[in-house]
């Protein structure tokens, strides 16, 4: 007797909370009442064993119902229960060749009379069905069969007489013609989304319960709070994985260490191993969200956009899984700003499409949307105001593209102001804290040559200005280079 594959390879049942046999027994009990009554006193091993259906048996059950006329469904069910019960009783369920096993007689639909007219000598080539061919012929005639005969008799006969000549006309009038543009709509109507359940779908429910994966997450046994991150290359070992209560303490420890030491490479490594332990144990709850949010914020603060983005995408999944808690609005706002950084217009469109009206009321999201609008319209005046007034940690995200936007604004200014523009004005318009910060930016970008301090005799003496015309070409080139890195297209 061959053991089913999942029994030989499966892990220990102890580690699987919510083991499937419980629910299956219930389904089975209602479906195959006879079986459960008779086997109630059997040992648990046998009981769990008998919840396993060989695939061939599943297919057999499917075939049984396939051809089963509605009127005889009850009869078929009884017969089927008997067959399966017996198979389990004498433990032949794994040895029977279900593919060729005869179907319960009541399940056989009588062959249509017209079959007799079928030409060729192939009848003996139908092994199983022949045996049951004539059973129930008298009383089980399907309504359909009679309809066929009355509805189609006339056209069929006509067609058989002169098929080829009629074909063209038929072509236009019958089903065999151009389907029309609304073929799918007609199908949608015909096969509606929700229909009533029947015996067969009950069976299918049992079927899918049997099929659902037996993988249960492991539960860790490690008690040490800290752990170095190591990318897993094999199944996780429970001995090295920390269970949830330990992880909760770990998070507290990491939070205090971050405050005290501010050591990013240590913290990032620890958070990664923390996230890994959550993943391998399938822990998805408010705590998980908390961990990802904190790691995302720390990564933002340190400008580690790669790590931030990993947390961000996990968070998006967690929020959409309906886990309560966390700050979905705050992180959606970050996401909008992040997409501005990557100049990803198509994802931006997706996120705009996904915004709910509640989200459109949120301060952080409103801010991010305003930033997006300012960037889209080139309104640098508004943009840099918003930069200085970013809620939460939006400012850190904006830092990642602030220099690029400054170059864009400078290019615009150089193109449009003549003969010069006050340096002070640039400091104010481009969101610098003070003149020296602005100067540092000019030095970094090698624009210092274009800045002149006027020594004329009037009261503007000592005034520092940017010579716009002279600077334009250089700044425009720097701007293009900055945008090239993120590959922005289609500027018109």
């Amino acid at each position: 007797m061959a053991a089913p594959p999942w029994r030989t390879t499966g892990g220990t049942a102890v580690q699987r909370p919510g083991f499937h046999s419980v629910t299956i027994k219930k389904t089975l009990g209602s479906n195959i009442a006879v079986a459960s009554n008779r086997t109630a006193s059997q040992t648990p091993t046998q009981a769990s064993r008998r919840t396993q259906f060989p695939d061939a048996l599943k297919a057999y059950v499917a075939r049984t119902f396939e051809d089963c006329p509605t009127e005889t469904k009850a009869e078929v069910e009884v017969a089927l229960k008997k067959i399966i019960t017996e198979a389990f009783e004498n433990e032949s369920v794994w040895t029977i060749d279900w593919a060729t096993y005869p179907l319960p007689s009541a399940a056989r639909r009588p062959a249509p009379d017209s079959d007799k007219m079928d030409i060729s000598s192939g009848d003996e080539a139908i092994p199983v069905s022949n045996k049951f061919h004539k059973v129930g012929n008298g009383n089980n005639k399907r309504k359909l069969g009679s309809r066929n005969q009355s509805d189609h008799a006339v056209p069929d006969r006509e067609a058989n007489l002169r098929p080829d000549k009629r074909s063209k006309k038929q072509n236009n009038s019958s089903d065999y013609s151009y389907e029309g543009p609304d073929a799918f709509k007609r199908l949608d109507r015909k096969y509606k989304k929700h229909q009533s359940k029947n015996v067969f779908s009950q069976y299918n429910a049992m079927h899918s319960a049997l099929d659902s994966p037996g993988f249960a997450p492991i539960v860790g046994k490690a008690t040490k709070l800290e752990k170095r991150y190591l990318r897993l290359t094999s199944a996780p070992d429970p001995e090295t994985v920390r269970p949830l209560p330990v992880l909760e303490k770990t998070l507290e420890l990491l939070k205090s260490k971050w405050k005290a030491e501010n050591n990013y490479s240590y913290i990032c490594d620890q958070f990664k191993s923390l996230r890994q332990d959550l993943t391998v144990q399938h822990i998805k709850n408010e705590f998980t969200i908390n961990v990802y949010e904190i790691h995302a914020r720390i990564a933002l603060e340190k400008g580690d956009l790669g790590e931030y983005n990993q947390c961000q995408s996990q968070l998006a999944n967690l929020y959409s899984d309906g886990i309560l808690g966390g700050h979905p609005h705050e992180f959606k706002a970050y996401r909008i700003l992040y997409l501005l950084h990557t100049c990803n217009r198509s994802n931006m469109n997706d996120i705009l499409a996904s915004l709910t009206s509640a989200e459109k009321q949120d301060r952080a999201i409103l801010h991010a949307l305003a930033v997006r609008g300012a960037v889209a319209s080139g309104n640098f005046h508004r943009f840099f105001r918003l930069y200085l007034d970013a809620p939460n940690m939006g400012g850190y995200l904006m830092d990642s593209f602030i220099d690029r936007e400054r170059l864009a604004a400078l290019a615009t200014i150089c193109k449009s102001y003549r003969p010069e523009i006050a340096f002070r004005h640039i400091t104010e318009e481009l969101g610098f804290e003070n003149d020296s910060e602005c100067e540092a930016f000019f030095v970094k970008q090698n624009f210092s040559d274009f800045v002149k301090t006027k020594d004329t005799n009037d009261d503007s003496k000592g005034k520092t200005v940017l010579e716009t015309q002279r600077a334009y070409a250089t700044i425009e080139a720097a701007k293009s280079a900055a945008f090239k890195r993120v590959d922005i297209k289609g500027q018109i």
């Binding site: 075939r63 030409i119 799918f184 217009r345 615009t412 449009s416 102001y417 523009i421």
Partner: protein
């Protein structure tokens, strides 16, 4: 395929005798009213035998069209798979779309084999179209069923896309001489692929198809020699792909062609094309749709006409309002971010009005005048710095010729052609 399915059998025979692809393909349509009858005509243990016998009989009737056994076997595979589809659709109170999809997959793959190995000819391409078309439909239903059960998946549609992609290659890479080449099926299948990729939000895959097409372009028949309906759909998708790529000039070219070739009664298709052509022309030519153009399309008219009016009048606030009103639809169609740029043109038109109103002294206009205009038309008091920013942008983008003198608070505009392309 028992005898009372004579209509199926006859259609198959007649189609073969007269090389009528449409008729042949129609036997595999899911909309056939015979479908239920077909589903109940046999069962899974005897369907293969039944089909083969029926085909053998029909094939031997007059002059056999299929002379080798393998030829009939492929057709048997096709109809057995089709029966599985029919069975899954018709014989259960609740359709299991996963099972329908599995059958449809077998069917399509058998059809592809028919072309690859059994020498199916060009006139039979309709069968490939029908198979792929329903494969896609059924895959979507199967995925929707899973999604309704809470599973976030497009797995089955992705699988369908891979199979349709194989059909595409079977067409594209046929080396037979042009009259007999399956290359004639290329655009029909491409359009199905585009539809599928768009649904999957995998537009880059569409670009891969276009690349493969370009690589084969020398051996392809001229696009205009294909069925016009296929050409229009193809051009429409090319246009939308270019549009999403922000290559608006290319988009305009494709969409223009699609619009011109589109059948005049194909209202819905023209509406789809215009949805993208209008924002495109707004950017490439600053061209606005006329009321007459929009008249036949009430939903487009309701959204685009007010925008066009605001742009003309330089009415910023109302422009923003109308854009916000249509936002959901615009975003869904992915035209929102493009239409948003119409605001520039609205502003340009407003500045142009200030310029015209200034009369003789219009080459030197105080920034304050522009500020007043913007404040009035946007309904909020706008700072001078922000108006300067608007002006600077106009100048940078070439909408306005001139410069700002911040020292004097003046905008100095070019004596001639200060607003290029607007006649002043």
């Amino acid at each position: 395929m028992s005898n009372h399915l004579a209509r199926y059998r006859r259609a198959w025979r007649v189609a073969y005798a007269s090389e009528n692809g449409k008729l042949l393909a129609s036997t595999l349509s899911l909309t056939n009213t015979d479908l239920e009858e077909f589903a109940y005509s046999t069962n899974s243990s005897r369907v293969a035998e039944d089909v083969l016998r029926a085909l053998e009989y029909e094939n031997s009737a007059a002059r056999p069209k299929i002379t080798n056994k393998a030829g009939l076997e492929v057709w048997t595979e096709v109809y057995v798979a089709f029966w599985k589809v029919a069975q899954a659709l018709e014989r259960h109170d609740e359709v299991e779309w996963g099972v329908v999809f599995a059958g449809m997959k077998d069917l399509t793959q058998a059809v592809i084999r028919g072309f690859q190995n059994s020498g199916w000819e060009v006139w039979q391409l309709e069968v490939l179209y029908t198979a792929c078309k329903y494969l896609r439909y059924v895959a979507i239903r199967a995925d929707e069923a899973k999604r309704a059960a809470g599973e976030d998946t497009w797995k089955q549609l992705e699988e369908a896309a891979r199979i349709i992609n194989r059909a595409f290659n079977v067409c594209l890479n046929d080396r037979a001489e042009l009259g007999q080449s399956r290359k004639w099926g290329t655009y029909n299948i491409i359009n199905l692929l585009f539809k599928t990729y768009f649904k999957l939000n995998a537009i880059t895959l569409s670009k891969n198809i276009l690349k493969a097409l370009v690589a084969n372009t020398t051996e392809m028949p001229d696009l205009l020699d294909f069925r016009t309906s296929d050409v229009v759909t193809f051009k429409y998708y090319c246009g939308v792909i270019a549009f999403l790529d922000e290559d608006y000039f290319k988009a305009e070219e494709h969409l223009d062609m699609a619009y011109r070739l589109c059948h005049k009664a194909a209202q819905k298709n023209k509406e789809l094309i215009l949805t993208y052509l209008i924002p495109t022309k707004l950017l490439t030519r600053r061209q606005l749709p006329t009321a007459a153009l929009l008249k036949p399309y009430p939903s487009l008219e309701a959204l685009f006409l007010p925008l066009a009016k605001c742009i003309k009048a330089g009415n910023i606030r109302e422009y923003d309002e109308h854009l916000a009103k249509g936002e959901d639809w615009f975003v869904k169609k992915r035209i929102f971010l493009t239409l948003e740029r119409g605001r520039d043109i609205t502003l340009r038109n407003l500045f142009r009005k200030v310029y015209l109103a200034a009369g003789e002294s219009r080459t030197r206009i105080p920034v304050d005048h522009f500020r007043a205009a913007v404040s009035w038309k946007s309904g909020v008091d706008v700072e001078a710095e922000e108006v300067e920013c608007f002006l600077a942008n106009m100048m940078y983008k070439g909408y306005v010729k001139g410069y700002i003198s911040r020292e004097r608070g003046m905008v100095v505009l070019s004596g001639s052609n200060a607003f290029p392309g607007t006649g002043v």
